[in-house]
């Protein structure tokens, strides 16, 4: 009788542990944490901010490695008061920017944020940022996924 109870408790404990593992496996890509579960982020950088400049830009490439679409709806950083997704365009010789509401990335698609095109427009830094600094950024997706990564600050100068 006692033996059966022990076996039953072991089975229940095993089931509970298995359940926890399953839950962790399912939610791993949905929790805040390093990029790599649902998307892959490369070449993340931001040009050093010249003195007095209250806005900067963030660039990176993002690949959707999941099997469903991923929709970036917002971005934030503790080092900036606000971040918007913007796109620069040059039409008829005029450069302008406009805000992009969201970025939908199809499975296996790569979208590049780069100078003169899509970029994170980062407004009002908490302090001056210099080459070799890192800017922590969180991307928010429509499904609730949050992905953290760092932009490397690089000097925005021609070779001296």
């Amino acid at each position: 009788m006692t033996g059966n109870r022990d076996k039953s408790q072991i089975f229940i404990r095993g089931l509970a542990i298995f359940g926890v593992f399953i839950l962790l496996a399912i939610s791993a890509g949905e929790l805040p944490g390093p990029a790599g579960k649902l998307v892959k982020i490369d070449k993340a950088w931001s040009p050093e901010t010249p003195p007095g400049m209250t806005m900067s830009a963030g660039y990176f490439s993002i690949t959707n490695i999941s099997d469903h679409k991923m929709d970036i709806v917002a971005a934030e950083s503790p080092l900036f008061a606000s971040i918007k997704i913007h796109k620069s365009t040059i039409e008829n010789g005029v450069s302008s920017m406009h805000m992009v509401k969201d970025i939908v990335i199809a499975p296996r698609e790569t979208i590049v944020f780069e100078p003169g095109a899509l970029h994170l427009m980062m407004m009002r830094p908490t302090h001056a940022l210099h080459a070799d600094d890192s800017i922590p950024v969180t991307l928010d997706f429509a499904d609730g996924t949050r992905v953290n990564f760092d932009l490397s600050v690089v000097a925005n100068k021609a070779p001296s």
Binding site: W45, Y59, G93, S95, R124, N156, A158
Partner: protein, 204 residues
């Protein structure tokens, strides 16, 4: 640290090779250079800057604003690379002066000097009254527009011409360079242009 110094140019090469491969150097040279109307602006050191300061040397004028996060820093870094190469190819005396026309004086004027120093201490930054800015902008056949979402909007954007305007030593609009441009080939084009001009000046 040192490896990051040529960062923007290198990153552009890495991230956007097409932007540098397809240069539009000397996209447009006007058949007849165009006179520039008189204007009165102030440089980043507080000195008067008028048509007279454009005479006697080649100039490159780029229109922008210091709160511009993307296109302006990219272009100013690119032009710094052009200047560096031009100094080698044509010599410092002949190399065109780079002039940044800051069209958002409310946000630009206070820190224009330190802003431009970051890219190249030889840059000239000019700004001033809207009427005077508009006079020069019109002479260049250029464009800018400040768009505020509300009177209190501090993060407003400015649409502006993306062109680099080439001004000859007679202070006339000679041509324009349209982005994206390759620093190396742009410098070669401008070096040939200013050297040819110098030879013509020496001929009887």
């Amino acid at each position: 640290m040192k490896i990051f110094i040529p960062a923007l140019v290198l990153c552009m090469l890495t991230l956007s090779p097409s932007a540098l491969v397809h240069a539009n150097v000397g996209d447009k040279e006007f058949s007849n250079s165009k006179k520039i109307s008189t204007f009165s602006l102030t440089d980043q050191n507080g000195n008067s800057f008028t048509l007279k300061q454009l005479q006697g040397h080649w100039s490159l004028i780029y229109i922008g604003y210091t709160s511009c996060p993307d296109i302006c820093p990219m272009t100013l870094a690119n032009l710094a690379a052009v200047s560096k190469e031009l100094n080698k190819l044509a010599g410092v005396d002949l190399a065109p002066k780079v002039i940044f026309l800051a069209v958002d004086p409310n946000r630009d004027t206070a820190h224009l000097k330190q802003y431009l120093n970051y890219f190249d201490p030889n840059y000239i930054g000019i700004s001033g009254d809207k009427h005077e800015i508009d006079t020069l902008v019109r002479s260049l056949d250029a464009f800018y527009r400040i768009t505020k979402k509300s009177p209190d909007d501090k993060d407003y954007e400015v649409s502006h011409s993306s062109t680099v305007y080439i001004i000859n030593p007679d202070a006339e609009l000679f041509g324009q360079i349209n982005p994206p441009f390759n620093p190396q080939t742009t410098a070669q084009y401008l070096a040939a242009l200013v050297s040819e001009g110098a030879q013509n000046d020496r001929q009887p």
